[in-house]
Symmetry: C2
Subunit: 230 residues, 2 copies
Amino acid sequence: MAIAALVFDVFGTLVDWRSGVAREAARILGPGIDAGAFADAWRRRYQPSLEPIRSGQRAYVDLDAIHADSLDEVMAEFGVAGVDPQTRAELVLAWHRLDGWPEVGEALARLRSRYLLAPLSNAHVGLAVALARRNGWHFDAVFGGGFSRDYKPKPALYLDAVAAFRLRPDETLMVAAHSSDLAAAGQLGLPTAHIARPLENGPGGGERRPSVPTTYAAADLADLAAQLGC
Amino acid sequence: MAIAALVFDVFGTLVDWRSGVAREAARILGPGIDAGAFADAWRRRYQPSLEPIRSGQRAYVDLDAIHADSLDEVMAEFGVAGVDPQTRAELVLAWHRLDGWPEVGEALARLRSRYLLAPLSNAHVGLAVALARRNGWHFDAVFGGGFSRDYKPKPALYLDAVAAFRLRPDETLMVAAHSSDLAAAGQLGLPTAHIARPLENGPGGGERRPSVPTTYAAADLADLAAQLGC
């Protein structure tokens, strides 16, 4: 096995979605809400909201549309009323304004010297590009939801990325902070790397180690780069 | 109209395919053939070979497969016989080893400070990435043949790129050295920029100016960057 490319989950793995969404919610909605809990409630609706698309009951819509749909429920839960359409659209853009975990930029630059790099996220292309631009990251291509018009952990997401790079599965390392994502990739023959993100969910914690067998397990992305000899 | 992204044709517009393919053909097949004419003959088969896919008669195959198909005819035309499969595969990779026109790298870096940038070529993702890596170019995403699984000038190629960036057509500038490409983009509402490439086809010349109305017409990519105020 000679790895030629690294493909990355983004939300939680490369960016700290909770701090960013909470910051934007507080900025836009004011100090009256518990912004961290607001971010958690929004995120909690994320995986269930993708199910109708994964199962083929609903045609593909991108993550901005998914986030806009679930925002209404979250606002109702927090007693936020009378929000105009422009403010709602601004809130959805919170997911475009997330900062990377501190070590990510330098680690990606090191990895880029030896490997092809691409996000393999449920984000659509414009969203993945916005996050890369905001954080100064340089990818070779953008795979995931927007490329395959479906959502992880559907096999097409992983296999489309491998095929687009003209690689074999065993040459493409899937990097994620979530064991379920790595399990799906591993079943397709991709090597896998788990990144510990104990702060992903704030007080709710995050995965400190994988709960499934993985090729690598790293304390953060810099640790993975070191393990790969970069 | 406020342009937010530039999308680029690649073969002829950003890279000098003729010199690169001729160099590789000479290296691989030896001095016995007219390498420039070999490159021309191969390129001449390019547009006709895409027609069955554009018309829906043939399922999408990528440009490596297209180039491999037509290579047999070109070798027969030049009396090249007894070429083993490994050498044939190496010849197909000539199209991955093309150098940019001299001003392109610096011009792209200038344009990148203000605009999103992506190739919008008939190349598949792996091929577009190989050319970008070889030349040190930095794009935000990769659109075109591999993204849309079809070939220009089919409308989906242009419209998929616009939609993936979440832009409107009038915010997305199509940049090409070929009037036919710009005509197709312009019909869909994209502004267009023609780049003069008088040496594209060697002694066969190249378009010195557009033969259709365009938003911009530039002497090279540095001239376009200057016209855009970068």
